[in-house]
Amino acid sequence: MKYINLSEFQVGRKQQAGVMSVYPLFAEDVKTPLAKFEDIKFHGTSGYGTMVFTNRSEHPFILPTGYAIITKQLAQDHALPFASLLAPESKRHIHEACCIQQTQGGYIDGSKVKSFFILPLYIRKKHFEQTVFPRGKNPLWKSPIDFARLWKHISDFQSKLVKRNEGNLVLFFNKFMEQLTQFNAEFEVLDGQRGAVVLLNDKIVGIEVAPTHEYWKTVWNSLIRDCYGSEVIRLTMQNLIEEFQASQELAVDFSGCDSIEAIESAIEKHYQKGIQDLKERLEDIGRLETIEVDASKDIIRNNSFGNIAYHIVKAKDADIYGEVYCDKDSMIYCSLLF
């Protein structure tokens, strides 16, 4: 796929728990000077569909896609279904935000917000499918876009799980937070890690890459818990895939292993084979033809800065959606959903 380049990444051993597995991706931090999470201030919502941020750094910042605020304030929870760029030393009102709490009014006071969520995979993907690339055709773009556009996706995602037909995402997180938090313990950040390939039942469901290890450490807990963990809950609780188990047996055959060394060798071979298979699959993904949102659109222009260009892409003949940031030709951030 256009812009996606994973060739510089080393692939680590697969981490696995139940139906979910994760291959860590390792690489040096990008050279592009970027602001850090500490440089960013979320002010709150200034209107329905508008989230306001300040970047205090002299460098730009990439706000991760799916960035969501769920708060106990009497205010409407909001999310950004696109990755967003905050220009250096600037305040930005992002008007592409969405309401994710249909029955609650009021504006968020950002000074009281301490943490963020990432939208569930199902909702992120549906948003691309129906708002950005409707019916798989070339992208349509209408501005301004409806701040309520996630309500139906949220309801479809969780109605059977929370037994309510409302676009209130907090209902899902309140009910399943314990199971979701376990994903944080199951899938751990490794030294030097900048990304991951996430699989469910051995099918790739996401590829995420951050510009730096520090950035990765900050987003990973939310990504694995809220975005991908929620997909495991959705699929298993509705029996759409095999029931989630606390730990899934290592798929390695020990029958011929009659010594400690033989067991070690069988495990090592198992992991190396997995890494090799994954590399081949990533190469196949790299070869897919791509369609993309035109660079002249507001959503692309507003989220690009200097040499840092934002792209929204889709595999031409497959339901694979992605957002990529490149510094000139070099990929510095990506989020690819399958």
Partner: protein
């Protein structure tokens, strides 16, 4: 319920997942269930001093509110006539081994739940007056003690005593004076704000310093015995504006508070004041917490701290060597330092500190029997949680070195390899490994502990004072009848006789 030990660690606070009410209801249901099923075993849980005060309070409440002499308990009483005596002894054992703040909270919980009978009255009065420092605790916990006295005696009796009426004098003699506390009457008058002269030096100092605050003549150039909370109260009430650092450094601060307040004092004094801390007075976990959190800690301080830890660990090891679930001389330790042990915001690094505490206890003199899973050593030499969880590779390493007794210290969330499968395969090829798993992480939602294999029980680990009870916990979770016999012998020896 898989793990009876869970009952010991309830906390009545909302968790990330549940409201406070839900946590309380779930905990109460678990306690009620075991109390109904097996009152004897349930009572024995009070032996474990490191359970939470809230768990203790649930047990104490049930025992006090439901008399053992009721008909339904006649079989138990017939089988064991010493049970009433044992219940009372265990309740006091639980109270006296709890810190004073929690012990008083526990007693106040009886008031809140309107448990008031002769046993409750005796329990409260004995706890307050049958001790050597009643005057000291009265200064710090004046209002709590006042509430407890009203609950135990009733308002009328309190007034009778304060007014020195004959019936008051008689009650005082019968219910309070029996404990022979030299300051009993002074404390009684003090908590009810009766003006009088005191002989207790703590009560005298309280009155003197309160007057100084009132008159603006307070002098805190020298340390005083009053707790810092009392000084803060006077300072706020009389608006004297004395800075926090002075109140902390000149007031009476517990060892626990000192270690917690070190960074605050340094910050408020622009690094000019540092509290003097003797690490020997702290638990291994507290020392680790201090070493990992102190701002600008030096390598020398780290070295000294680790030396104290090793000494303490050696002492603990010596105390359990003959009564452990495996032979420690021939045991190896697999210690999980993976990223998931970083803990949550409120208890940052706690799972890791717990694992490290046990690691220090179980490591041998040569320190060559420890296998680390994950972890990253920082420049100052301290290991931090990092990386994935590959317990099975560590097991294979241990097996290769010939170890057949393995202690696993882990939250049980493995994500690389598969411990259970490797463990079974080793067994298949004739390598039988005796394994025990201690888990530092307790899930507040379902009161459970994650295990790494169906054939290896996960034993929760919460506090180093409980290391001596590891064998008992093992029995509690695997063989309730043997547990009752063993703990009964221990209680008779240590508490009853």
């Amino acid at each position: 319920m898989d793990n009876k030990q869970s009952l010991l660690y309830l906390v009545p606070k909302s968790s990330y997942y549940n409201t406070q009410q839900e946590v309380i209801e779930e905990g109460i249901a678990l306690h009620d269930e075991l109390f109904r099923q097996d009152r004897e075993l349930y009572t024995y849980l009070l032996y474990f001093t490191e359970s939470t005060y809230y768990s203790k309070s649930l047990i104490v409440e049930r025992l006090l509110a439901d008399s053992i002499y009721k008909d339904k308990n006649k079989d138990l009483l017939k089988r064991d006539p010493r049970m009433p005596e044992l219940e009372e002894a265990l309740i006091f054992h639980a109270l006296y081994n709890e810190n004073i703040t929690h012990a008083l909270k526990l007693l106040l919980q009886l008031k809140k739940n309107r448990i008031n009978n002769a046993r409750t009255q005796k329990l409260i009065l004995r706890f307050i007056f049958d001790r050597g420092n009643t005057d000291y605790i009265a200064v710090k916990y004046k209002n709590k003690i006042k509430q407890l006295l009203v609950h135990a005696l009733g308002l009328k009796t309190v007034h009778d005593i304060l007014e020195e009426r004959p019936e008051g004098k008689a009650k005082f003699a019968k219910l309070i004076r029996v404990y022979g506390n030299p300051y009993d009457r002074e404390v009684f008058d003090f908590v009810f704000d009766r003006e009088r002269d005191y002989t207790s030096e703590y009560l005298q100092e309280y009155v003197r310093i309160r007057e100084d605050f009132k008159n603006g003549t307070v002098d805190l150039s020298k340390p005083v015995n009053l707790p810092k909370e009392v000084l803060e109260g006077f300072n706020n009430f009389y608006r004297r504006g004395i800075n926090l650092t002075t109140l902390i450094s000149m007031g009476n601060v517990s060892d626990k508070q000192k270690i917690q307040l070190q960074n605050t004092v340094k910050r408020h004094s622009n690094n000019t004041i540092e509290l003097k801390i003797d690490l020997n007075n702290y638990s291994i976990l507290e020392i680790l917490k201090y070493l990992y959190s102190k701002e600008d800690i030096t390598n020398k301080e780290i070295e000294e701290g680790l030396a104290v830890i090793e000494k303490k660990a050696k002492d603990i090891r010596a105390s359990i060597e003959n009564d452990f679930v495996m032979n420690l001389d021939d045991a190896t330790v697999i210690v999980d330092c993976s990223h998931s042990h970083s803990g949550s915001g409120q208890s940052k690094l706690h799972p890791f500190f717990k694992n490290m505490t046990l690691m220090y206890v179980f490591q041998n003199d040569a320190k060559d029997n420890v296998f680390y899973v994950g972890g990253k050593t920082e420049e100052n030499g301290l290991i931090h949680p990092a990386g994935d969880t590959d317990l099975s590779s560590a097991l294979l390493q241990a097996a290769k070195k010939g170890y057949r007794n393995v202690i696993i210290l882990s939250d049980g969330f493995e994500n690389v390899g598969n411990f259970d499968k490797v463990y079974q395969q080793l067994k298949n090829i004739g390598i039988h490994i005796n394994t025990v798993h201690f888990n530092p992480v307790f899930s507040p939602r379902n009161f459970s502990f994650k295990s790494i294999s169906d054939s290896i029980i996960a034993i929760p680990y919460t506090d180093e004072k409980d290391i001596k009870n590891m064998a008992l916990f093992y029995l509690l979770n695997t063989d309730a009848d043997t547990f009752k016999k063993v703990i009964r012998r221990r209680i008779e020896k240590e508490i009853l006789d």
